[in-house]
Amino acid sequence: MKPKLVIIPIACVLLFGSSVSIGSARGDDFNAVVSAIEQFYHVKHQNIPLLARAGMKAAKTAARIRGGEYKRLAEAGSARVAFFEEQNFDSHGQIASFKASMKNALSETWSPLVQTLAPKNEEQNYIFVRELGKNFSVLVITIERHEATVVEATVAPQILAQLMKDPNEIGKALTEDATIDP
C-alpha cells in the first residue's frame, strides 16, 4: 500500500505540473512573438479582432484549400490573434535582425515551415509548427508595411496535411480562418 500512496501524489504533481508548463509555454510563445514585434518596430498590438473586415473573399481561400464548402480550419476556440493596424513597419534594412530576435523569442519546440521575405516592400511571412498532443499548433506571423498579424491556432493533423500541399498558402488560409465570422 505504501508505494501506491507515495506514487499517486507524485503522479498528480507531475501531471499538474506538466499541464501548467505546456499551457504557460503556449501563452509565452505567442506573447513573446507579439512583444518581439512591438519592441523591434516600436508598435502596439490590438487585441480586438476585426472580424467584420474579412467577408466572403477571405472565406474563398480556405474553402479552396478544404476543397469545397467553407469549414473552419482551426479547432473551435483555439485561435489567438493579435493585430497591428495602421502602424509603420520599417525595419531600416534590418529584417535579418528581426528574424533573429523572433527566433530567440520562440522556444525550440517550434519548427520553421515556411519563411518568405521581401525586404523592399517590408513584407515578411513566417509559419512555425509544433506538436500539441494529437493535434498541431501553427503560428503564423505576417508583416506588411503598415500592418501585421500574429495568429496561433490548433489544427487537426488531417487539416495540416491538406494545408501542407501548398505551404505558402497556410499562413493566408489560417489568418483568414481566424479572422472571419463563421
Partner: protein, 194 residues
C-alpha cells in the same frame, strides 16, 4: 559454449538490425544538403522563400492522405518514403548580387560521392542554368537536388528520399517545390520482339 551462443543470439540479431537501420539512416541523411549557409543572401535578395518540410512532418502528412479521393491517392504515392523537402529561393533586383562562392557552397557537396548529374540545361541567351542531381546507392535513390541558377534568381531544391524525375515534375507547385521548367522526362521505349 553453445548455450552462451544461444543466449547471445537475440542480442546479436538486435545489434545487426540496429546497425543496418543506422546505415540506412546515414545513407538517407547524406542526401540532405547543407543549405543554411545561403541564408546570408536574404540580406541582398528582394525576395526570399525558405521551405522546410522535415521527415516528421512528411510522415505525418503522408499518413493523412488516406481517403479514396484519386488526388489523395496520387499525393500519397508521390510522397511515399520522402523524408524531407527543403527549398531556398532568392530573387534579386540586379544581376551579380550573389557570388560563384555561394553557388559553390552547394555545388561542392554534389561533386562525386553518391551524387550524379542527370540533367543540365543551359540557356546562353538568358544565362539560365538548371541542373538536377540524383543521390543513389546501387539501385536505390536516396535523394535529389535541383539548382536553378539565373542572373537574378538562385533556387535550391533538395528532396530526401526515393524520388525520381517523374515524381519531381509531379511535385512542382506542391509541398513548396517551385515550378522548375524542367524538360519532360523521356518516355520509356519498349523493346520490340524480333
Amino acid at each position: 559454449m553453445k548455450t552462451l551462443f544461444r543466449n547471445s543470439l537475440p542480442a546479436i540479431t538486435v545489434s545487426v538490425l540496429l546497425l543496418a537501420a543506422t546505415s540506412v539512416t546515414v545513407r538517407a541523411q547524406s542526401a540532405r544538403l547543407q543549405i543554411d549557409q545561403l541564408d546570408s543572401l536574404a540580406n541582398k535578395a528582394s525576395e526570399t522563400v525558405d521551405v522546410k518540410l522535415d521527415e516528421h512532418l512528411m510522415q505525418m502528412t503522408a499518413k493523412f492522405f488516406v481517403s479514396k479521393d484519386p488526388d489523395d491517392a496520387e499525393i500519397r504515392e508521390l510522397i511515399k518514403g520522402v523524408k524531407g523537402i527543403y527549398v531556398k529561393s532568392f530573387t534579386f533586383e540586379k544581376e551579380g548580387e550573389y557570388s560563384p562562392a555561394e553557388i559553390d557552397s552547394v555545388m561542392s557537396q554534389l561533386r562525386g560521392g553518391a551524387w550524379s548529374k542527370i540533367i543540365g540545361v543551359t540557356s546562353k541567351k538568358d544565362g539560365d542554368n538548371v541542373e538536377v542531381y540524383l543521390n543513389t546507392a546501387g539501385d536505390q535513390i536516396n535523394g535529389l537536388a535541383v539548382l536553378s541558377i539565373e542572373p537574378k534568381e538562385f533556387t535550391v531544391v533538395n528532396i530526401v528520399g526515393p524520388i525520381n524525375l517523374e515524381k519531381l515534375v509531379q511535385l512542382e507547385g506542391q509541398f513548396g517545390v517551385p515550378y522548375l521548367n524542367l524538360p519532360p522526362p523521356k518516355p520509356k521505349i519498349e523493346k520490340k520482339n524480333p
